[in-house]
Structures are given as structure tokens and as C-alpha cells.
Amino acid sequence: MITPSEAAKPIDHVFRALSDPTRRHVLERLSRSPASVSELAAPFNMALPSFVQHMSILENCGLVQSRKTGRVRTFEIVPKRLKLAEDWLVRQRALWEKRLDQLDTYLITLKEK
């Protein structure tokens, strides 16, 4: 028997990371070459701490990795992780997870009525 709650975890984080347009833009940029935080942040009209938070979400789920040279932190993409999100069944799972999330939220609102 599959235990879905456990099996779904890493990929849930990947999908959550990918659900944000800023983070998708960053990944597209990183697909061309590694880049520093300031290079990556440049196109966005966003406070640096918020941007750094986006980067840590990407890094925590394994889509990117970083190393620090002196005072400059450079990010690069981890293609293997993205491969995970590409898989058909993984996408079906994400779809069902989202559907059931909506159901559970809806059920709670029904109960409260």
C-alpha cells in the first residue's frame, strides 16, 4: 500500500515553489547560467529580504543550490529536481492533492454554516 502523505512530501515543496511567478522567472534566468543574488534580484521591484526569502524557498526544496565566494552568493539550478515535477503521475498527484485541499476547505466552511 502506498502511503501518499509521505510519498507526496518532496514534490509538494517543489510544486509550491513553482507556484510563484517570481520564482519561475528566477528559474528561467538560472537555466541560462549561474548568477548572484543581486543579478537575480535586479529585474524585480522587490525589497531584498523578500527576494532572499524566495531564493531560500527554491533552495530548500532542492530546485537550486548556492555557494558563497567572499561576500557574493551564487545560485545555480539543479535540473534533477525539476525532472521530478515533470513526471506525469506526479502531476496527477499534485492535481488530486489540490482538488482534495479544496474539498477539505469547502467541507469546513459547510460545517460552520
Binding site: 502511503t3 501518499p4 539550478i77 492535481l95 488530486w96 469546513i108 460545517k111
Partner: protein
């Protein structure tokens, strides 16, 4: 004992516990006015739903993409045990007539757990061909489409 055996390469088993009575969970799966509220992952929507709740009965939904394109889905209930088990498939049309594009069978099993309900949603898929067909039908959530583009883009640049 369950008749079906999930194949980890093709099938999904999702288990949830939700803090509402079982009757409410059953209603959410079997009444059109509820289905339209949650059935399709946003930003897609379910704009129409018809249910004839009995074995052989019709389960019909129309899903609308964020671009406004409509995708009708027609299935047939196989098993209806109130508050316990709901099984339907798109391999059969209402009245058990075989369909043209069989893709999946869904089993929803409900169990009382104190004041809460444990439910298991199982999606049994046909095979690789069925998967492809489903993708060609355009059944992607908005972000999945965006994701496909992103994956293609990144694969092209990395290799």
C-alpha cells in the same frame, strides 16, 4: 478485502482525515451544487455538473480552463453505497455503454473516525496511452502548463 491493487506506476491513493461528519463528505462528492464549488483545481473551474446517483447513472461535469475553453467529462457510476463508497469511471458512459476514451476509475471510500471522517481517493489509470490521451485533452491546471513550458525551456538550455 479490496478487489483492486494500486499500481504505483499508474495509480494514486490519497488519504485524508477531515474534521466533519461523514454525511457531509458524502454530500460534497454526490451533489452537483457542492461539486461545482471544489472539484476542479483553481484556476480551472467546474461550471456545470449533473449527477444521477445510482450504478449506471451519469456523472457529467464541464470544466473551464483559465482561457475560457470548456472541457466536458462524462462518466458512469459503478457503485453507490451511501456514506461509504462511491466508484465511477469514464471507461463507460451512462447506462454502461463502453466509451471511446477510457482513462480512469475513481474510488472514494469513507470511514467514520470519531467525529471526523477518513476518506481515501483512489485513481486507477489505464496505461501510457491513456495518460498521453489525457494530456492531449488539455487537462492541465494553469500552473502545470506553465510548468511544462518551464521544464522544456530549462531542458533546452541545460543540455
Amino acid at each position: 478485502m479490496a478487489l483492486w491493487k494500486p499500481d504505483p506506476k499508474l495509480d494514486l491513493v490519497l488519504e485524508r482525515v477531515v474534521d466533519v461528519p461523514r454525511e457531509l463528505v458524502w454530500a460534497a462528492w454526490t451533489k452537483p451544487e457542492h461539486i461545482v464549488k471544489w472539484f476542479t483545481p483553481a484556476p480551472w473551474t467546474t461550471i456545470h455538473c449533473e449527477i444521477d446517483l445510482r450504478p449506471g447513472g451519469r456523472f457529467h461535469t464541464i470544466m473551464r480552463s483559465p482561457e475560457g475553453k470548456d472541457f466536458p467529462n462524462t462518466g458512469c457510476y459503478l457503485e453507490v453505497v451511501p456514506n461509504e463508497r462511491l466508484v465511477w469511471t469514464d471507461a463507460l458512459l451512462p447506462g454502461y455503454r463502453p466509451s471511446e476514451k477510457p482513462f480512469f476509475t475513481a474510488i472514494i471510500a469513507l470511514e467514520k473516525q470519531g467525529k471526523s471522517t477518513r476518506y481515501t481517493a483512489t485513481a486507477i489509470h489505464r496505461d501510457e496511452a491513456g495518460k498521453k490521451q489525457h494530456e492531449e485533452m488539455g487537462f492541465h491546471t494553469g500552473w502545470a502548463t506553465a510548468l511544462d513550458q518551464l521544464v522544456a525551456h530549462i531542458k533546452a538550455s541545460v543540455h
